[in-house]
Amino acid sequence: MSAVLLQALVSGIALGLIYAGVGAGFSLVVSTGRLINLAHGEFVLVGGYILYVLCHGIGWPWPAALALSASGGALLGVALPPLVRRLPDGEVDGLAATLGVAFILENLLLLSATATYRVIPGGYWVQTVGLGPVVLSRASLVAAGAAAAAVAGLDLWLRVSWTGSGLRAVAQSRGAASSLGISPARMEWVAFAVGGAIAGSAGGLVLLTRFLSPGEGPAWTLVALAVAFLGGRTRAIFLVAAGIAVGVVESMTTALAGGGWREVVASGSILLWLLVRERTLSADA
């Protein structure tokens, strides 16, 4: 394999782990909250902007700022259940409502942060680390590692904790869960809060490795959709595999054909999945 393709493969894997992180919170909301959140990308951006202001603007340490990014994402997440419960129809109205939320958030970001691209300053984070024949920036390594840890941590929590069992029960059958004393409404709150928190903290990883711009929201929602469609629900191994698949295909395509192919790869995967499987994620519930 040529050096270029090998580099593209490794970069794609690192990128894919970040994509898995972006998709993990989205999948949790789909499975338990029965909502495909088209504003997920904007949740990611809000988290990223919070980190940018705190770290770059005020000088907070990175972990503390990340905690606040997660909190910001969680707050946005818990704003959705009261909205969604009032909607007359199921899946379609949820899509339309979150599309409206996405539009509102994007415009609020434009007003507050303007369309200027935000990146972290150079220096330490952009220094590369040699991994045999390939190199990755410190930012990519840290972000990929953090994303993988977040996805694994989510998976473990869902499998080991009582709350996680409750979330999985509600995801399979709200009625049966309710008959066992598990409150579907309460589990929904937890799912939206945790999903939003993961999205918000993923924004920090996005800032580390790429850039922030209010118009990038739909692209990140698309990535989350593609990972969730291809990987299924919240099992870490499937989310990671799906994220890596999307990341590697995008990276390889860019290496071979040039240009920005993230949107093409993600949207093409989603379209293909829908035409083959003939249903959305929520219908699996």
């Binding site: 909205l83 009032r86 539009f103 415009n107 698309l222 959709l225 920005g260 379209l271």
Partner: protein, 537 residues
């Protein structure tokens, strides 16, 4: 048509006044208004077929980009290029034809993904590049001109009028049926792809034409702009605001929101004026999802010139039928033949495979092994085709067309069979006449079951599939339904009847007893009695 042309006359009159008083600025504003109205009406027309599009930007961008490329690189006349751009929109819709059978949310996501896919592909294509296009000046089509304004006004009016005509035709009724109850529509032979592809392709072409006119109006095309999500959200918001299921919804939504955006939001929030669309969308969904205008529900005519459809009597047979659902085998090697004028009663405990059997005969689930035959030939592929061959079915839980009345529910099936004259008699026989004007969505379960039977029988079926038609009925109502089923049998229908319990068992010609998906018994009712009693000692 006064209710249609009068509002449009008022709109055109107001547009003329705006143009006359505001000069070139007025032409520009009014032109954009008609553009938005055309986009919104096009979206509404798709919505009328039960589809929810989140990706109109795919067609808008395709049209704008095609127009720009044809007049610059292709050196084509802009007027001729408009036709090419509309064709590009229609071609772009072809990719989505397999998605027409998807439920609304899935289709919406498919359109969203498709718009972003086209944007990405166009942005990376060398022919289109990333710098965009600057259109050459053309007399009459250069910016906000009266000629361009007239074309946009004509497009908006044509779309609105086309939608109005669509609603009053059989295709509009079929689309409304799919929107209300997709499964029930299939049982009447109304296939989602067959009914939707024409209006969707037309609307895609119209949206692309709007994109082409936008390119001429602005004078330049930037790939990221013409495929922007704004051109997907804008028609959705304007269309829903005015009333998605009304032919005037697009123009009314535009009149309600566009002046607000132009006169208030844009000056106040130049960088974030589309914030209003998000807020309006949320407000609509929470407070008034049907929009400002009440839905125009297509009505079923009282009479029709359609001749009765000739139904040849056909036998229905299963040979070594094996069906799998959710990774489990629910039917295994089931075989039987039901001749015209026979009733096959199907028994079995819960989970025996009775409903799966009906679904397999109806064409709703795949049959990996074995086959279903109509007469001597394999049954046509797909539920809609089988329904058009003369198969009718009832559902275990009633699935009426909720927006239509009881009379219209039955008439919809009768119209397709050329049997509108038989509706009143059916309603009388099933004691539904007093309920005929009630919306079918308001019926009780028992009334709904009787409606199921009426709708299936109104289709004059050659093959009749019944899924517990007597469950939940009073003995009197059950007797009436059984009587009509017997009448259908005497008329030559081959009937497969799933029922718990022995009610009307005396009408059965054969019994099929299923257990865990396998045939436990197939034969006459008397042989079954003998088999149950066992050998005498």
């Amino acid at each position: 048509m006064t209710h249609f042309f009068l509002p449009w006359a008022a709109v055109l009159g107001a547009a003329a006044v705006a143009v006359a008083s505001l000069g070139r600025y007025g032409v520009n504003v009014v032109a954009l208004g008609f553009l938005y109205a055309a986009l919104a009406t096009s979206w509404n027309w798709m919505r009328a077929t039960g589809l929810f599009s989140f990706g109109q930007a795919a067609f808008f961008g395709a049209g704008a980009l095609t127009q720009a490329w044809l007049v610059t690189a292709g050196r084509m006349s802009p007027w001729l290029a408009l036709a090419g751009s509309a064709a590009a929109g229609a071609l772009a819709a072809i990719v989505l034809i397999p998605a027409l059978r998807l439920p609304p949310a899935s289709f919406g996501l498919a359109t969203l993904a498709y718009a972003i896919l086209l944007k990405g592909l166009a942005g990376n294509a060398p022919a289109f590049g990333r710098e965009g296009f600057l259109l050459p000046t053309t007399p009459g089509l250069d910016g906000a001109t009266p000629a361009l304004l007239s074309v946009l006004a004509a497009l908006a009016l044509t779309l609105s009028l086309g939608y109005e005509r669509f609603v009053s035709r059989p295709s509009g009724r079929a689309a409304a049926a799919i929107r209300q109850a997709p499964e029930t529509s299939l049982s009447l032979g109304i296939g989602p792809v067959g009914e939707r592809w024409r209006p969707v392709t037309f609307c895609a072409a119209a949206t692309a034409l709007a994109g082409a006119l936008y390119a001429q109006l602005i004078g330049s095309v930037d790939t990221t702009v013409v495929f922007s999500p704004s051109f997907s959200v804008l028609p959705l918001v304007l269309g829903m605001l005015g009333g998605a299921l009304h032919p005037l919804g697009g123009i009314l939504g535009t009149l309600a929101l566009y002046p607000l955006e132009e006169l208030v939001l844009r000056p106040a929030l130049p960088r974030a004026h589309s914030l209003g669309y998000g807020l309006v969308l949320l407000g609509l969904l929470l407070l008034k999802p049907e929009g400002l205008l009440r839905p125009r529900i297509p009505r079923i005519p009282a009479s029709s010139t359609r001749r009765p459809v000739a139904r040849n009597a056909i036998a229905v047979a299963a040979r070594n039928l094996t069906v799998r659902r959710n990774r489990a085998t629910v039917l295994e090697n089931v075989s039987f033949v039901v001749e015209p004028g026979q009733i096959l009663r199907v028994f079995g405990p819960n989970g025996a495979g009775k409903t799966s059997l009906l679904l397999a005969i109806a064409g709703r689930i795949p049959v990996p092994k074995g086959a279903i035959f109509f007469g001597a030939a394999p049954a046509p592929g797909g539920a809609a085709l089988r329904a058009r061959r003369g198969l009718a079915r009832t559902f275990q839980a009633p699935r009426p067309f909720g927006e239509w009345t009881v009379h219209e529910n039955v008439a919809m099936a009768a119209e397709r069979a050329g049997n509108l004259g038989g509706v009143d008699a059916l309603l009388e026989d099933l004691e539904l006449k007093s309920l005929e004007d009630r919306p079918a969505g308001q019926l009780s379960v028992g009334e709904g079951k009787r409606l199921e039977a009426a709708r299936a029988l109104a289709a004059n079926p050659a093959v009749l599939l019944l899924d517990e038609p007597l469950a939940g009925l009073t003995p009197r109502a059950a007797g009436r339904v059984s009587g009509l089923i017997e009448r259908a049998r005497r008329g030559g229908a081959a009937v497969v009847w799933v029922e718990h319990g022995p009610a009307a068992l005396e009408l059965a010609s054969q019994l099929l007893v299923l257990e865990s998906g396998k045939t436990r018994f197939l034969g006459s009712p008397s042989d079954w009695e003998l088999a149950r009693r066992g050998p005498r000692s």
